[in-house]
Symmetry: C2
Subunit: 192 residues, 2 copies
DNA sequence: CGATTTTTTGAATCATATCAACGTACGTGG
DNA sequence: CCACGTACGTTGATATGATTCAAAAAATCG
């Protein structure tokens, strides 16, 4: 069911049922199995992915081979390697399903066509990226300004579902700390 | 002279001289003196500011009273408190001129009007925020994944002008480290 | 020039990483 | 459906990088 996706668009722009139906024709619908890889480092990213059901995440690998989780996308989130997608350069992240998932995808080839057929998609994406940018800035501000324990508490508050559905070592990686440190933080918090 | 701003638009969208002229009529042009404040924490942010000449920066103040530099905007950059601007909520940053500057500003009241008169502005902003989002993500990835010294080296490489024009304690604040640590990092680097 | 701001230096302390070991849970093939 | 292997989480000891506080040196401003 694409009800969630329709609501998602309607929260930002005016779109009729017919327009939405037409738009859906330009998207791809896919079921992905847990652990399935939707993008591999080095490939050019051809999709922006909307998560209708399930949970995907992306991670980069640094020069020392350390993985670093960049983004978790659960229901109603988008995920992609935007830089690779827009600039047609090799992706710097893997995107992998953490759970069996149901996704809708925009293919790069169709983007420009879409912006012509549906001018309102510009408005939609402008608003989407405004929000994404603001959120990234907030995370950055926190990453630099507050301690690991406070960052964990923030995430507990803001995205509680994440903690329930994601293994702790991935949360640690997302927070930029080691699993050991996260374990110790959690012990401290329980004691309180 | 608004030549730089015209180029700035033309790098993203098609815009005729007349359209640009009309667009300019919807913007405000201002000279600001060094140390002048363009936005104060608590106010609602009414502008997105384009830096034509000079250098502005924004910083937040955390619960412990520590200032944290969020953004440096030199020539051809934009600066604002986007969350405050879009949601009409109190700003969380001050915006201050670090040098005498020359800026063009979009006022909030006129934004919706502008999106109607100039539909291509949606496209422009979409692309602007795509880029801003990507950059913020990169910074975040670095903030969490690499050490202070590597972050400083990165900024040296990517925005060398910044180091030349901005006091080091503000660079330190931007990197999320203390001025003392930055001083020690620089000593190490010189020794190499 | 004097006053203020900026940068540097040193010593003690704190937060987090690292390395190593162990316990637990989990799913997968037999 | 059980047992084994792998993935996940915790704990301890030690090392490292960054902060804090105090002070002095250097640069900049009016």
């Amino acid at each position: 069911m694409s009800q969630r996706l329709l609501e998602h668009f309607r929260s930002r722009i005016k779109i009729s049922d017919e327009e939405f139906s037409l738009l859906l024709d330009h998207m791809e619908h896919k079921q992905v199995k847990k652990k399935e890889k939707l993008l591999e480092i080095g490939e050019v990213c051809n999709y922006t992915i909307y998560v209708n059901e399930g949970l995907l995440y992306s991670y980069s690998v640094d020069d020392d081979g350390n993985e670093h989780v960049v983004h978790f996308a659960l229901e109603d989130y988008w995920i992609s390697d935007l830089y690779s997608f827009l600039n047609r350069t090799p992706a710097t992240v893997d995107i992998i399903a953490l759970e069996d998932s149901d996704v809708y995808m925009f293919r790069y080839d169709k983007m420009n066509e879409m912006f012509e057929i549906f001018p309102f998609i510009n408005t939609f994406y402008r608003q989407l990226y405004e929000k994404a940018y603001i959120y990234a800035q907030q995370l950055l501000d926190r990453a630099l300004g507050i301690s690991a324990i406070e960052r964990y508490v923030q995430i507990l508050k803001e995205r509680p579902h994440l903690i329930q559905r994601v293994p702790l070592h991935l949360i640690a990686s997302y927070l930029g700390i080691t699993p050991e440190t996260l374990s110790r933080i959690r012990r401290k918090l329980v004691k309180r």
